[in-house]
Amino acid sequence: MFFALVFPVLIILVFGAIFMGGGTSKITLHAQNLDEGSQGDAFLNALNSTTLFDIVEIPSNESIEQYINNNSLTVAIFIPKNFTFDIGEHLLFNEPGTVDIIIYGDPSKSTYGTVIGAAEAVAEGMNFRLIGKIPIINTVPININPGDDGETQFNYIDFYLPGIVGFTVMTNSLFAMTSTCAEYRQRNYYKLLATTNIKKWEWLVSKFIFYTLLLWLALVLTYFVGRAVFDMQAQLTPIAFVIIAVGAFTFTAMGMLVGIVVKDPEGASAIANAIGFPMMFLSGTFFPLEMMPDYLQIVAGVMPLTYLNNGLRDTMVYFNDGNALINLAIVFIIGIVFFILASKFMSWKEK
């Protein structure tokens, strides 16, 4: 029933919102403008006038590479100190060569392509306005893939893997736990358990351990298949295993919480799907969050899967363990809240 009626409606709503965002979706573009003249500002203003971007200024005292790394940015623009001066020199003395604007970015992300395209268009417009013929301002794309050192080349699959793993963590823990709870109630297993020595929290922890082990296995399998078949370069890191354990904990607790209100496995499946599928699509599992309208990005911000996916990407792809730990902490706090609520409201007894 869910897949026949509710699922298509959810899909059209979610995908419609993502791809038909009414043109209100903007890419957040971090820019560092060290130019002491007016041309740097003019360039950014021109970019801003395209209405494609929300431009966020990077403080001039920061190293842009460090800033990109610290904030796990997928794209950023850099305007050098003597940008206006160099343009003037070229105009006055007809010096050969170009004045470069550097666009740091991750080629696997669609936003990077959008920024390059827009920046090139703006540069071309400024060139035309400045002298009308020889291009002076040039955009220089720099790949910020940490592994792209000439030896390692990241592909889309490397960025897709953490999403797949995050999605697997959610589906296994949330979907399975919700239907397990409903089945246990319907078949009187809770009553059976209540008659033994096992404590409720022991049972909850046993489920969490089971799903953690299962999902670690899934991570390792997915990783090695990705390496073998797609020559994937993302790395398995210890923090990835910790994030998966915490994710299993959070979504198991969430499944238990949902399982409290459902009466039968069919209802459990419908509710888990209704929660899980939108979360899957709105948490950056398959599409970058930047592609989504602002209001959906806000929705994504309250979904634990967003932080799980981000944490996994931070550690496996960007090797930014600091950010990964922040995302891990957010997932863990959400999990603690779910666990406390599930422990409090789940009852094996009848009223």
Partner: protein
């Protein structure tokens, strides 16, 4: 009088707005007895047994098991009590031997393979120990449930409608098993809506109706106290015999079980002689004639005013 294992005083369970599932019942169960709570569906049997199992909280009243108030602390009793819930279904993908092993772990008990086999032999499932539980028959699943309820060697065993839905052979097998459990000294609390089951198994019976206990005692005592007649059975007299009796003004009816035998209730001993004379002059063909006492079924009919079939009252 044997040691009291269960003592229930003025137990009630009400649900809003005005449902009295259990309405001020009291009873005691002696050690080593089979105590049967008998009644139709909705009488309040399962609510009562689940309160005694610590699975529901009562609205009021007191329950003492082994001298301990269960409302204060049930955890100390867990190891002394075994429970087979109503409509028990084992975990589908566990084999019987795995289920026994798993269950003992939930009681913090270590068990050897030999002990597992012995537990399965006890309930007649040894040959089926390696079959997934979902492939067991209904009777076998209940046997496995009983095996699980016995893993902690309980002194008190609660069986909530253990034979409901089973075929006659399955029921007889379970009756034998329950008797065997009793013989080993375990006290059994059995809820059922089968009158013959209570009559065959129970030392003491409480008949429950609309949340109240309307009669209690041993099956013999109940028949003696609430039975109204001796039954004269005209074996094989059939409907033609019944017709002839009715023409003579004798109150008789066909036995529901086979509709071959004619049953003539004789309510006073003094009526017996005249009734036999009437019979002799009626020229009824029959295979045999004998008397039997009333059963719990008759007692139930006398008390409630309806017959009970599969837990449902028939008007």
């Amino acid at each position: 009088m044997s040691e009291t294992v269960v003592e229930v005083r003025d137990l009630s369970k009400y649900y809003p707005p005005d449902v009295k599932a259990v309405d001020g019942i009291s009873f005691t169960i002696g050690a080593g007895q089979i105590f049967s709570m008998l009644g139709p569906n909705g009488a309040g049997k399962t609510t009562t047994v689940e309160i005694l199992e610590g699975l529901r909280n009562p609205t009021s009243g007191e329950v003492m098991i082994f001298g301990q108030n269960i409302l204060k602390d049930y955890s100390k009793l867990r190891k002394r009590v075994g429970i087979l819930p109503q409509n028990f279904e084992p975990f589908d993908l566990l084999k019987p031997w795995e289920a026994i092993q798993y269950w003992t772990q939930l009681y913090d008990i270590r068990i050897t393979k030999k002990e597992i086999n012995r537990a399965l032999e006890r309930v007649g499932l040894f040959e089926r120990r390696n079959i997934h539980s979902k492939k067991l028959s209904g009777g076998e699943k209940r046997k496995l449930g009983i095996a699980l309820s016995l893993v902690n060697n309980p002194e008190l065993l609660f069986l909530d409608e253990p034979t409901t839905g089973l075929d006659p052979k399955g029921r007889r097998d379970l009756w034998a098993l329950i008797n065997e459990i009793k013989e080993k000294g375990t006290t059994v609390f059995l809820t059922t809506h089968y009158l013959d089951e209570a009559e065959r198994l129970a030392d003491d019976v409480s008949i429950m109706h609309k949340g109240k206990i309307i009669a209690e005692g041993s099956p013999d005592n109940l028949v003696e106290k609430y039975g109204k007649a001796t039954i004269v059975v005209l074996e094989g007299a059939g409907s033609s015999g019944l017709q002839k009796l009715k023409e003579k003004g004798i109150d008789a009816h066909l036995d529901d079980a086979d509709e071959r035998d004619v049953l003539v209730p004789v309510r006073k001993h003094s009526e017996m002689k005249s009734m036999m004379c009437t019979l002799a002059s009626s020229d009824i063909n029959m295979a045999d004639i004998y008397t039997r006492r009333e059963t719990l079924e008759d007692v139930f009919l006398n008390l409630v005013g309806s017959k009970m079939e599969d837990g449902v009252l028939k008007e």
